[in-house]
Symmetry: C2
């Protein structure tokens, strides 16, 4: 970590930081970094089996943070946990598009109802807390133009998208009406060590990694759709900068990757990163997936970059290589 | 009713029609019209005291429709009531902006969660039902440009707006993914005989009418903000046309009034309609209202007019006069 970087984040030294979804992919990487910056970090995670929480994600720094297992729907618990916090990184959520269609009311309870309750609790017990909400580019739905900027209409293509849209809108509203210091980052697909690889619930790359490590071909559905990937450490940097940027308060801001790639190009990159041991097969899109697929997606995140100076720093091949290395060593904890 | 008009709505003769919020302002007027068109009409209403339902609204045609008192959150009841329906006019909701800030989770349960459940039930027991959802211009929030068309960004200014935005988004999603024949009308302020006048929960005009009829001055908060009013019979016509228009399926469409008026101009019109007996006082905006007020609002509803041929036909002075007449005769039932 450079001196420059340390001084940028001096405000986190000794600060009280709550991370919901703190044992998941982004939450755990954020916690590791915040602990290194000297923050007093409290992780909240439901540890439900369908979500991203995995104790292996925090094993290397478990003694430097506090952990409270609780569902974010548990308002009584959250009231206690929120009191006295300086920062709230609001990462808990249901992420699976397909699960959201099969169990829409569960998705609503977690991604929408619980967000409203959390903000009401912040008003009550932590009105000065600085919040960053993990939003998603999913709320735009199928793009009408590319690249997609923040003015693009919102037409979610699945129940998860509707609920994430509403969850984000509460944040912006509580900023506008009550002066809560909150913003939302509309993230593209985040990947890296700590992601769920058991299945595709977090994103498609999880299952690709798993199959590659097990010596099996992974499936590429379609192939020509363009997608972006953001390495988890770059996502962490975006969250850390956003929470300290007054200019981002009340805004919903896109956070994309370094560049868009076709799924085929991503598959080729994974084969390269595995030194050729990974292989894949192209497949037709399954019907239930096709109904909620959004085609090409390319993010315009110039506004966020301009306001915070953030830019992704991890090249795709490097990020994929680090991910493969990690799972080669820790595979058993993620199956 | 003209012959032309009857033939336009021939599809309603003998059709099974469910109206949620059926004892409220729009619901009851729609029911009266549908009963006259020969439809088999079932009204569902929670009859909770804060909402718009009032038995006086249906007294003149009570024997020509069926009524089932139930909350739209009651999924078991709705499952039975939805089965076999050809049309669903989805008007039930919490409408008070201020209540939505004071009891946000109740607003969410009614305007968001219940909508998702209703659509899931439609998929299960009435997949071919034609739906019109009562949306609201409130979801746009404070306008960034005027007039506001459907491409205007959504930035709800209160909790009610967030939940109505999500409730509408479910409808569009269920069209896109499951082929449900549904659309949403983003309505401006609707007024007329049958509206709630006990307080301002439906819109500001209710309390203006009440004070005028009681011989007291009504209060105009601010005065220069431009607003639109849509007479209830014109709103009914919009719903009837929308449900029969295939071209509107999957769309959210603005429905405005005949013209925008400043609140002062509306107040003057009410004084005129009362033959000078009404009077008003201008007041500063109360603080808790100002935080969620949206300034001027002017609707661009050319898309809906173009698709359906609809236009409002009731002039403001006429609509206000009819409203005053109605409440002079039925005042006791509305206090």
């Amino acid at each position: 970590m450079t001196e420059n970087c340390e001084s940028r984040f001096a405000a986190y030294r000794g600060a009280h930081v709550l991370i919901t979804g703190g044992v998941g992919l982004i939450g755990s990487a954020l916690a590791r970094r915040l602990a290194a910056l000297g923050a007093d970090v409290l992780l909240v995670d439901s540890m439900v089996s369908e979500a991203g929480g995995n104790f292996a994600n925090i094993a290397d720094f478990r003694d430097r943070v506090r952990l409270n297992i609780a569902d974010i729907r548990d308002g009584a618990a959250l009231r206690h946990l929120l009191a006295g916090q300086d920062f709230l990184f609001d990462l808990a959520g249901q992420t699976s598009h397909l699960d959201s269609m099969n169990a829409p009311e569960h998705d609503l309870a977690v991604n929408c109802t619980a967000q409203l309750q959390l903000l009401e609790l912040c008003r009550a017990v932590a009105p000065a807390v600085k919040i960053v909400h993990a939003g998603t580019r999913q709320i735009y739905g199928r793009p009408r133009y590319l690249p997609v900027d923040e003015a693009h209409p919102l037409r979610p293509a699945d129940v998860n998208g509707v609920n994430k849209m509403a969850g984000e809108a509460y944040h912006l509203l509580f900023h506008d009406v009550y002066g809560i210091d909150t913003r939302s980052l509309r993230l593209t697909n985040v990947y890296g060590p700590g992601m769920r690889i058991k299945d595709a619930r977090q994103n498609f790359l999880g299952i690709w990694l798993r199959r590659s490590l097990e010596g099996e071909a992974f499936e590429v559905w379609g192939g020509e759709q363009r997608r972006e990937l953001l390495y988890v450490d770059d996502a962490v940097e975006a969250f850390l900068r956003a929470a300290l940027s007054r200019d981002t308060a009340g805004l919903a801001l896109n956070v994309g990757g370094d560049a868009p790639y076709t799924l085929l190009a991503l598959a080729d990159a994974l084969v390269r990163a595995s030194d050729g041991s990974a292989r894949f097969e192209q497949r037709e899109f399954p019907a239930e997936r096709k109904a909620i697929d959004i085609g090409d997606f390319v993010t315009d995140d110039r506004r966020f970059r301009g306001l915070t100076g953030w830019a992704p720093r991890t090249a795709l091949d490097d990020g994929l290589g680090r991910s493969l290395d990690y799972y080669r060593r820790h595979m058993a904890s993620y199956l």
